[in-house]
Structures are given as structure tokens and as C-alpha cells.
Amino acid sequence: MTRPTTRPGAGPGAVRRRGAVRVGPWSLRPAPRALVAGPALVLVAFAVAVAAISTGEFTVPVPDVLAALFGQGTPVAELIVGKLRAPRVVTGLLVGAAFGLSGALFQSLTRNPLGSPDFIGFTAGASTGGILAVVTGGTAAQIAGGSMAGCVVTAALVYGLAFRRGVQGYRLVLVGIGANALLNSVSFYLLTRANINDAATAGAWLTGSLGGRGWDHAVPVALALAVLLPICLYVSRPMRMIEMGDDAARSMGINVEAVRAAAITAGVLLCGVATAAAGPVVFVALAAPQLARRLTRSPGVTLTASALVGAVLLTLSDLVAQRLIAPQQLPVGVVTAAIGGVYLALLLRKDRH
């Protein structure tokens, strides 16, 4: 190799600039912005959560909130915090994280910022399943089960229809958009056939809401995250390689179809379990990964940051939904949809240039 470098020494310097963390045989190379953004997001999420628990019709001062959270509060504070407000906030954090993570997985797989589960039919499938349970007089558990099943069945169909020697991202998006339209019309048909009370319940559920959510809503999402988050972190490195193209990833020794199947499974389950808990809340899965990418200045989609941004987005939106025209309560889905519209317009405006 005889080529002279134009600036000798510039290369190793540039390579070394991003510090490595090495302990014995272990070594990592974290992006500097991610190191700051991650903890900062955790703090913001915590602050929003405390604010949401503290305020409302009956204000619990912040020190009392913290005391109650650690089991040291007054009985009244413990009732309001532990029974009424904390479950709602925790459900919001977990559902937001699940939507954010699911969105990040699908945007990476489809290599498309619009390839999120609320666009490619998976959330719509969950809605249809949920509404079917509502109009047939299902219990809360049956509604949750219905939406989970709807999500999984839709995903299987979309995946099957998009499959041709492996799944190409754009095929998944195109087939998914078709499924989305179809399923939405099925949902509305079901609403027209339902009796007025069921239709009202279903309509409210369709918006997506965290109102009246208890620990029984939070637990399934927490379990799903506990199982699926490690899987997501494990596939995140090969997924970043797949973003460069299937051939590029395969030539690096990655089993592209296996990684993709694992990521799709995790993404579908996360989307399903989140919809089962809070209804089809739009926009979080779409925007969280893009906001996370800008915050961490990371190339490609980042999974952990997307989950954190999702958690912040949903709890913050819920706080706004509860306080905006208090004592009137808005469903959180109304707020996220409103922010989502503005966000989409900005995204399209930016892409024009």
C-alpha cells in the first residue's frame, strides 16, 4: 500500500476522538451524545411522572409524593398516589416506552421514518381486535386479548403478503398501508353495527386513553418489556448493519432473516401489549424514534433512546390532556394526535429541501 495520506496522522486522531471504554477483554464505544441524552431523558421522565402524580384536583406536594412512593406517606397521600395516580403514570411510562421501541424497530426494518406500526396496519389490527371484543360485550381482559390477537394476526398477514425471497422494507410499508386502510374500515363498520353504549365505549377506547388505568394494566406491559427489551438490545447491532442493505449485512456474517424475524416479533408484541393497555395511541411510535435520533445525534435508529423518548412523550401528553381544560379530561390520544399532525407537517416540510 503505497498511497500517501494527504494529512498524516489525521486518521488515527479522528478514529481516537470518540473515546473507547475498555475493561479487560471488554470494550465499548459509546457515542458521546448518547451518554448525556440517556440519563437526561431518565431525569425528564421522572420529573414529568412526579409532576403528574403531584398535581390534579387534590395537590400532593412533591415531598409527600416521594414519601408516599417509598411507603412513608400519610394514608391520604398513599391512597391518591399509590392507588389513583401512580398506576396511571407508570402505565403511561411503560406504554410510551413500548410504543417508542416498537416504532424504532419497524422504522429500522423498513428503513423508513413512516414505517411505524401506526402506519403499517399493526395498531389498526389491534384496534379492530379490541373493538370486536367491545361490541360483543367483552370484559376489559377480553378487550386487551382481542387487541393483542388483532395485532399479531395483522402482522402475520402483512408479513406473509410482503414476503418474497425475504421481506423488503418498502413492500412491508406498502402492504401495511393497505392493511391499515382495510382494517380502519372494518373498525368503523363494527361501530355502526354496535348498540349505542358499546359504540360509545369503543369510540373512547379507539382514541387511546390512560384514564382509570390500574396496576393490572401496567403489569403485562412491564413483563413484555422485561422479556423483549434484552432481545431488542441484542439485535440492535445487527439491525444497524441491516440498515445499510441486506447484502452489506450478510457480507458481515449476519443472518439477516433471523434478525429481522426476531425484531418483527418483538416489535409486534410490544405494539400489541401497549395497545391492549392504553388503546391505539397514535404518533408516539412514529415520532419517538426520530426525536431520539436527533437528541442522540446517532446515525440510524437507536432503540433505548427511542423507548425513553416514548415514555416521556406519552406521560407528558397525558399530563397536558388532564390539565389543559381541567376539570374536563381529554383522552391522551387526542393530544398525541394533535402534536402528531404538527410533527408530520414539519417532517414533510424539512424533506422538501
Binding site: M1, T2, R3, G11, A14, L28, R237, M244, M252
Partner: protein, 272 residues
């Protein structure tokens, strides 16, 4: 029928039938990539040259026959192990949004890394060396999307180099580049070959192939019609047979390798 001995060279294919779904592109191909050669596969459009390269790089599973790497059937080897011996520069790859040159080149280290060993000193050294060899060291902090086509192709090559494989396959590395950048990339490939790597490339331009290849594989209609050193295999008859082009062959004034001069249909008279 005699098959090439898979143990004779590190990379070879025997009895290969290559197909996309049911569409057979090439049948019963035997090919041996000589060690430490700069092998160039050439032929008209749709002759199966890229398909052959993809099969050698285990991107495409042969319908029949097998590709051998170091005496083993390539698909029987662990995928990451293959990736440490054989690299591929695909025809087109997608640049991740907002990635810097250093970060993209560093991705070439993937086959050498594990979940808890993501950035060893060997990784760092290999990336620095790859960037030096491809002359992109000064671009380290630049965003890849903002580079020129020629610079970008050098960055992709740097990524493949960082993989530190003794064999490197390149699928039409000069497509989409203007002539000066084509020569720049091919000169770089020649340097890498001189440094001891086995290089295999699919090229479009017959003259460039003759100039840079030490071993030429000429294909037509999914079959290999000639193999060997360019000066030995490239004749007017071969070019007419393979490319349906009547031509004259003269020595390249710069290198002495065969230079194909297509026959003119209308001669411009000198005293007109």
C-alpha cells in the same frame, strides 16, 4: 467431467447452477479464483457475472454445485467466520443518515466484534489503517452523505478493508463514477492487490479489465467462455463472439495490455 480441485485455491466454485427463484441464470459453472490474483469477471449485460460473484460471496445459494472456501463448502462455515476471510463490496449500499466517515468505516469491524467487545485496540488500528490506505483519513469527521461519489466509494472500500479479509469481492465498484474516479478506485484496488490481497471484481469496461486484471473470467449467456491472463485470452474473435462487436486489438500505449478499438462503421476521410 473434470472439476477444479477445491483445495487448489482458497476460493472456487464447482458445478454451479445459479438461479433466482425458477429463472436459471447460469448452469454448470466451474470457476477457480487463483490465490493473490486480481481476477476480473467480464461479459455483456445479463451474462450472469454479478450472479456468479454473489454466489462466490455466499449472497446467493447455488441450486446445484457448491462454492468452496479453504476446502470447505462455504455455507457449512459459520457466517461470521466467513466474514473474517472474505469481504464483499455490494453494488449499492445505503448510507445511514448522518453517519460520519469514521463511524461507517468502523462498521466493517463487525465480524471481529462481540456484544461485550465492541471496540478493541485491534479494531481501532484496523480502521485507521483502512482509512489511510484509501486516503480518506482526512475526511474522518465528515458526513458520508455530503461526500462526492468518488470519495464515498473510497469510504465504502475502507469499510470493506477494515474487515481485514484476505479475499475481497467487488460488485461493479466503478458504476455511477465518472472516468477519473473510476481510475482512482481501480488504482486503489491494484494497490490492495499488490499488498497481497486476492481481489475479485465484476467490471463493465473491457479495456479497464485488461489493464488491471491478472486473471480474466469472460462470460456469455451464463457460461464461462474464456479464462486466463488478459493478453492470452483477449482476441478480436473472442470480443466478437462475446460482445458481438467487431474490433481491432492494439497494445495499450501506457501498459502494453490489450486495448480494444471498436471497428468504425463510417470512416471519416482524412482529406475531407
Amino acid at each position: 467431467m473434470s472439476r477444479p480441485d477445491p483445495r487448489g485455491s482458497r476460493l472456487s466454485g464447482s458445478g454451479l447452477t445459479l438461479a433466482y427463484d425458477q429463472r436459471v441464470v447460469a448452469e454448470d459453472l466451474d470457476v477457480v479464483i487463483p490465490d493473490e490474483s486480481f481476477t476480473v469477471i467480464i461479459g455483456p449485460n445479463a451474462c450472469g457475472k454479478s450472479t456468479l460473484l454473489r454466489a462466490l460471496a455466499r449472497m446467493l445459494k447455488p441450486k446445484k454445485g457448491a462454492v468452496h472456501l479453504d476446502g470447505s463448502v462455504i455455507t457449512s462455515l459459520p457466517s461470521k467466520e466467513v466474514a473474517r476471510r472474505l469481504g464483499l463490496l455490494p453494488q449499492s449500499s445505503i448510507v445511514p443518515d448522518g453517519i460520519t466517515v469514521t463511524d461507517l468505516v468502523a462498521r466493517g469491524r463487525y465480524p471481529h466484534q462481540r456484544l461485550m467487545r465492541q471496540w478493541s485496540r485491534a479494531d481501532e488500528a484496523a480502521v485507521a489503517e483502512a482509512m489511510r490506505a484509501t486516503d480518506v483519513a482526512g475526511l474522518g469527521d465528515r458526513i458520508v452523505d455530503e461526500l462526492s461519489g468518488g470519495q464515498r466509494q473510497r469510504v465504502w472500500l475502507a469499510m470493506a478493508l477494515a474487515q481485514e479479509t484476505p479475499i475481497l469481492l467487488l460488485d461493479e465498484p466503478t458504476t455511477f463514477l465518472d472516468i477519473s474516479h473510476q481510475i482512482e478506485v481501480l488504482d486503489l484496488c491494484a494497490d490492495l492487490h499488490e499488498a497481497g490481497r486476492t481481489m475479485v471484481a465484476v467490471l463493465h469496461d473491457l479495456n479497464q479489465a485488461c489493464r488491471y486484471a491478472t486473471h480474466l473470467v469472460v462470460m456469455r449467456h451464463g457460461r464461462i467462455v474464456a479464462e486466463g491472463e488478459p493478453s492470452a485470452v483477449v482476441t478480436p474473435e473472442l470480443v466478437e463472439h462475446v460482445f458481438e462487436l467487431r474490433c481491432e486489438i492494439i497494445p495499450d500505449p501506457q501498459t502494453g495490455t490489450p486495448l480494444i478499438v471498436p471497428e468504425a462503421r463510417r470512416r471519416v476521410s482524412a482529406d475531407a
